[in-house]
């Protein structure tokens, strides 16, 4: 588990968190076939607790599952506006980290999504469209080159 790419990830998200002032940054990675390709939050920065470790998402479930399945970013300026509170329990990471404003982008490897990068604030309306766009262009050079990097521990 402790190969060099892990260290990179942790550093990258810590840097991102400082750079943009996010409350929480995390990366979910697809697990190998033996684990039925589930998604788990592997790297976190600014977490409140260790609940993220328990979360195991299937494709289409939760924040990471949806980004993974659709290959499109999710952007919620205000969680309460974007989601029905009755539906919120389906997004455990939002509840566990008490996120109020968040965005998530797919990380590509070849033509497949291999991970999801989530950034969020614990107060509503803090992640504006502008910041989210700036963030996306900022991560291009770092995470855009994923297809040449071997990320998943085999």
């Amino acid at each position: 588990m402790n190969d060099e790419s892990n260290v990179d990830y942790q550093q990258e998200i810590d840097t991102l968190r400082n750079r943009f002032g996010f409350d929480f940054v995390s990366i979910a990675l697809v697990q190998p076939a033996e684990d039925q390709f589930v998604l788990t939050w592997q790297y976190v920065s600014g977490n409140l607790n260790k609940r993220y470790k328990r979360i195991v998402l299937y494709s289409g479930k939760g924040v990471a599952g949806i980004v993974f399945k659709t290959g499109k970013p999710i952007f919620m300026e205000d969680v309460n506006m974007g989601l029905d509170s009755k539906d919120l329990f389906n997004y455990p990471i939002i509840i566990a980290e008490q996120l109020q404003s968040l965005g998530a982008v797919p990380l590509w490897k070849g033509n497949r999504v291999m991970g999801v990068l989530l950034v969020g604030f614990r107060h509503g309306n803090q992640l504006t469209e502008d910041i989210f766009e700036e963030f996306q262009s900022e991560i291009e050079p770092v995470f855009g080159s994923l297809d040449t990097k071997e990320m998943v521990d085999q």
Binding site: R54, L57, N90
Partner: protein, 352 residues
């Protein structure tokens, strides 16, 4: 029989007439009201009573709306007034009452003096009985619905597990065989991706099947079904269920197991959605001939009497209905900031 003299008898009859809760009318020819007791006066319109006291002829028809016969709920066909020789010892009649509108009564109509054509007409209020009947009907209905839903879930779940998943698995095996044939690198790569997607699909179908109704509940019993469900909850929601069971592998009647499973599922879902906590304690044990389930969280709790419902409000109702299905008892205790405890106990006969 205790011997009674005529005077005493008359006194008793008089008391009965005055104090009875049953409305008693004495009816003459063509439905003319000759006399009525206080209970009857309570029912009918004050205007009619006034008309009576001013010596006008008042017919029972002015307040009667109709009676129930084989053809209709409220009908005037073959009116009991017109056919005194037929058996009208017990029937249902609708009266237009002064406070409550049209109300059903159980009635009896007998001739007591054939020569002068005098009849006695007695009414017993049926409203309460009707309500009881309606409640009974409604709860029976809910039980049927719950049962139908459970059966249907079981059917679809089996179908998914036994036929859809099996078919998919055999296609997957076929696909794997392809890998050992002479194919070039590009095809092999694509093949691996397809295999991965199919494996994921298979997994999803299995999950769907278990979510609908876990086969382990029927095959292995409560404890096994609970363990896999709790693992699933933990993974999907990051919600920890601390489970302790003293049942080992004891089996119960299928209906009981279903009820316990569903109620526990609902209770956990409630805790997960509303309690603002990330763990819940579930205890399953048998004591005093009862199967007991306790689901306890230390979350935000809620006011049991408050009408401000957070969800659909059907969850708790459904839990109670299910409990009634197996003659169990459901106790709920919750206080703001103190958490919630749900305690279910179901009587089980020792030989089961």
């Amino acid at each position: 029989m205790i011997p009674t003299n005529q005077v005493y008898m008359a006194e008793l009859l008089d008391k009965m007439y005055r104090n009875s809760k049953e409305a008693i009318f004495f009816i003459g020819n063509e439905g003319k009201i000759m006399a009525m007791n206080p209970a009857a006066e309570n029912i009918i319109d004050i205007e009619i009573i006034e008309q009576m006291y001013s010596n006008k002829e008042v017919s029972i028809c002015q307040t009667c709306v109709g009676y129930t016969n084989e053809e209709a709920m409220i009908s005037c066909l073959n009116c009991y007034l017109a056919n005194p020789e037929e058996d009208f010892s017990s029937f249902q009649v609708y009266f237009n009452t002064k406070d409550l509108g049209v109300v059903p009564y159980a009635a009896s109509y007998h001739t007591i003096d054939e020569l002068q054509g005098i009849h006695v007409f007695m009414l017993l209020d049926l409203t309460k009985q009707f309500k009881t009947q309606e409640m009974l009907y409604r709860s029976n209905m809910t039980k049927y619905v719950i049962k139908a839903q459970e059966d249907e879930r079981k059917r679809i779940s089996r179908e998914l597990h036994d036929s859809v998943a099996q078919e998919l698995l055999s296609s997957l095996v076929d696909l794997r065989v392809l890998k050992y044939m002479n194919v070039d690198e590009v095809v092999l790569n694509k093949l691996q991706q397809t295999e991965a997607s199919l494996t994921r699909l298979l997994e999803e179908i299995r999950h769907l099947s278990v979510e609908l109704r876990p086969a382990s509940l029927d095959d292995l019993g409560l404890e096994a079904a609970f363990r896999s469900h709790f693992k699933w909850v933990e993974k999907n929601y990051g919600f920890l269920v601390r489970f302790s069971s003293e049942l080992s592998s004891a089996r119960y009647n299928n209906e009981i197991e279903t009820v316990v499973y569903r109620i526990c599922q609902e209770a956990i879902l409630n805790a997960l959605k509303y309690a603002n906590t990330d763990e819940v304690h579930v205890t399953l044990f048998e004591s005093q001939g009862k199967l007991q389930l306790v689901v306890r969280d230390e979350g935000s709790g809620f006011n049991l009497n408050s009408r401000d419902v957070k969800g659909t409000g059907l969850g708790l109702f459904g839990m109670r209905e299910r409990t009634e299905l197996v003659h169990g008892q459901l106790m709920m205790r919750s206080e703001i900031d103190q958490g919630t405890v749900i305690h279910l106990s179901i009587p089980v006969s020792p030989n089961e």
